[in-house]
Amino acid sequence: MTENKGSKILVFSTEKISDPAIDLAGLLKMHYPPTVYTINIPCSSAVKSRWIMHAFNKGFDGVFIAADGTDCAFDESCTDNTAKVISRTHELMKEKGIEPARLKMAAICSVCAEPFVKQMKSFAEYLSKS
């Protein structure tokens, strides 16, 4: 299904912080693989492992959490909580025989367009190799 089209990446972005950064990337005409799809949620620590696993099951090659980091408007525990979700999901992925590296997280601030593009490029490259 994904042959020759590049690896499909699902990005969970957050409405206030990382989604504006992804918008900004487009605004600045920065390019990243067109197989990157974004779903936005209020806060990165709200991502359920179940959604991530669903994405893998349905055929996504990688999932990327564009986290709020310390800029989170809700609470500073966001970074920790998001990290915990990731590590729990990594466990689930191992059980299912999915390579944990296919789930990544990085803090993307609201103007971090360039870091986001870099993340996407390197992630896509990594996924296409593995």
Binding site: D19, H31, T35, Y37, F74
Partner: protein, 643 residues
């Protein structure tokens, strides 16, 4: 499930249409189940298009619309308004971003951009199918604020709230208002005294019908939530008959006969105090008070002052309030025994005590029968500690010490001030004070971070030694008649209110705001606000600013009679939940409550406190929590559509 969905695909001039094949996109989505209408448009945001959409919704009886255009950050509210105008619930409107996140980002690969756009719009349609009509939650609120602490900040906030039409309960733990400010003399920059300011504010407060002042009062419990708190206030008796006028002569007699005597905390032990007291003659409320904890009820005073009534009892009253504003202030740092010879050499005192000393000495500056000429000020005592817990800078002390030093020099003759500091921090306009004190000959000596000045006794003299940075580390010494420890601010030692209200405490042990820039006077507990120096060391102006800020926040929160809440909330399925505490533990807003429901213990979301962040979602081991607008079906069907 919505099945009459209208889809609009925007060309955005050429911005989208140049890279995304909008016609193809339209054809594909038109075939999608549930889509009854699919259109392309040059500018979706244009007035004519907006009208067309309204018409479509009404004519075709659409139950959801999807607009594929630019980022929702730009036009979400524009389009939601279209829905509202057409009588459609705004939450049945879904915006798909095919400009910033598609046509522009992938302008190098138009073919793939089109494919991505198709997936994105399909996902949007899925989301629209599952979208629920939401209404913003409204809870009623009483237009009342309980202000805790009648210092300058609290009084100022009370006046402002009252002016804005809010009912205020001003609750002060002491018997008199004014807090710390009434202990201070002339203030920078206006040269008013602390007591004048307190008097000015008090006199204003008593003119308001909608401010009720309680003194000797403390909040002992709280229930309810924002808009509708129930608080219990315990009021200690004053033992003075209510409504009586102050009779100074009789009061003085009562003081004379009172057998209970102890160090006066107001003057930091420079004078003695009786159980019946006023800290200073013009203190407010005018009538004196008898300290409930100290009085032994011997009745001597009643004999000379008939307005005294020792039969008064403590009482507890209930207050219903929309919000609580804490302005409980600070305590001065109390040096440990031996810290810069404090408590060891008798002419070492704190800055706060020194300020009282100046006020109590009119003509000559005398401490312990000794005329004071050379004064050594040692800065950062209790602040910026290397080993101790207080890592923070207390912000006001440099200015306060310098201001006091200038005052002393002007008030008495023959004073030499020596400032043993760690780098003067007279920020902003306060710099002029530093300049002034230097110019009049105050001497500033700066110690290295790791070698603070040493205070020691040499014969009869008290010597302060320092390796002075400003003189290339040279060892210098001053024979000081008085050593003033410039002590900073620490949180209130007796801080029961923090436990009662469960106010979050920061690393520095002061109350913590949600965010110093976004929400600087709010705490994570909705409806509990903080201001002034209970939050961090602040000077009077800064305290007042934050108090006024908090007043306007509190007022806008509760004054409309109802509080609107975003409908994006967590919902717990009671049939699945088996109380495990994980969600309530992680919730930063204390919005999840343990409840008994139908015979089992479950977690319930308090809708008034929930902010809809979703932090609780992933921690539930049985997946009982759904976030409205981001439910599993919505997200998962979107994922399926995207692939």
């Amino acid at each position: 499930m919505r099945n009459k969905i209208g889809v609009y695909i925007c060309h955005c001039g050429s911005n989208i249409a140049d890279y995304v094949d909008v016609e193809k996109l339209k054809e594909i989505v038109a075939k999608e189940e549930g889509v009854v209408l699919a259109k392309t448009t040059m500018f979706a945001c244009a007035d004519s298009t907006q009208k067309e959409i309204v018409q479509d919704i009404q004519e075709k009886n659409l139950d959801a619309i999807v607009i594929a255009s630019c980022s929702p950050k730009l036009h979400l509210f524009t389009f939601r308004n279209i829905a509202i105008r057409a009588g459609l619930n705004p939450y049945n409107y879904i915006q798909v971003n095919i400009r910033e996140q598609c046509s522009w980002a992938h302008s190098d690969t138009p073919k793939q951009a089109t494919e991505k756009a198709i997936s994105l719009v399909l996902a949007g349609i899925e989301r629209a199918k599952h979208s629920k009509a939401l209404t913003t939650l409204k809870i009623s609120s009483v237009n009342t604020v309980a202000v805790v602490g009648a210092g300058v900040a609290g009084m100022r906030a009370a006046i402002e709230l009252a002016d804005m039409g809010t009912q205020v309960f001003l609750i002060e733990r002491e018997y008199f208002v004014g807090g710390r400010s009434s202990q201070w003399n002339k203030l920078f920059t206006t040269d008013e005294t602390g007591q004048e300011i307190v008097a000015k504010l008090y006199k204003k407060i008593i003119t308001y019908n909608n401010i009720t002042l309680f003194t000797g009062a403390e909040i002992v419990s709280k229930s309810g939530s924002v808009g509708d708190f129930d608080i219990k206030v315990k009021i200690n008796p004053r033992y003075i008959k209510p409504g009586c006028k102050l009779d100074w002569a009789k009061f003085e007699k009562a003081v004379e006969v009172c057998p209970v005597e102890f160090d006066d905390p107001f003057n930091f032990g420079l004078t003695k105090q009786k159980a019946i007291y006023k800290n200073y003659p013009s203190e407010f409320p005018e009538i004196p008070a008898i300290d409930y904890d100290k009085c032994n009820k011997c009745g001597e005073c009643v004999k000379v002052y008939e307005d005294i009534d020792l039969n008064q009892k403590p009482e507890t009253i209930n207050i219903n309030t929309g919000a609580v504003l804490l302005t409980t202030g600070f305590d001065p740092y109390e040096p440990e025994k031996g810290e810069f010879a404090f408590d060891e050499i008798d002419n070492v005192i704190t800055l706060q005590k020194f300020k009282r000393l100046i006020e109590l000495n009119e003509k000559e500056l005398i401490y312990r029968n000794r005329k004071i000429r050379n004064i050594a000020y040692i800065y950062c005592v209790g602040s910026r500690q290397l080993d101790g817990e207080n890592k923070y800078c207390s912000r006001y002390c440099c200015t306060s010490a310098i201001h006091t030093a200038i005052l002393v020099k002007n008030k008495y003759s023959d004073i030499n001030n020596f400032h043993f500091n760690r780098g003067i921090r007279t920020y902003g306009k306060q710099e002029v004070l530093y300049t002034e004190s230097s110019e009049i000959g105050d001497i500033f000596l700066q110690s290295f971070e790791d070698s603070p000045p040493v205070v020691e006794k040499q014969g009869k003299d008290t010597i302060v030694k320092i390796n002075d940075i400003l003189t290339c580390g040279k060892e210098l010494e001053v024979v000081a008649d008085l050593v003033v420890l410039v002590t900073g601010m620490v949180p209130r030692k007796i801080n029961t209110i923090a436990d009662v209200l469960k106010v979050p405490i920061g690393r520095d042990k002061f109350f913590n705001e949600i965010h110093p820039k976004l929400r600087p006077v709010e705490t994570v507990i909705d409806g509990v606000l903080i201001a002034g120096s209970c939050q961090a060391p602040l000077n009077i102006t800064e305290s007042v600013k934050s108090a006024l800020s908090a007043a306007s926040k509190a007022n806008s929160l509760i004054s409309k009679g109802e509080i609107e809440l975003e409908p994006t909330l967590a919902k717990i399925d009671e049939t699945i939940c088996e109380w495990c505490d994980k969600c309530s533990e992680i919730c930063p807003y204390d919005a999840i409550i343990k409840t008994k429901h139908g015979g089992k213990i479950i977690a319930v979301v308090n809708e008034t406190s929930c902010k809809g962040c979703g932090m609780c979602l992933p921690v539930c081991p049985v997946n009982a929590i759904q976030l409205i607008g981001y439910t599993d079906v919505e997200i998962e069907s979107m994922i399926e559509a995207l692939i």
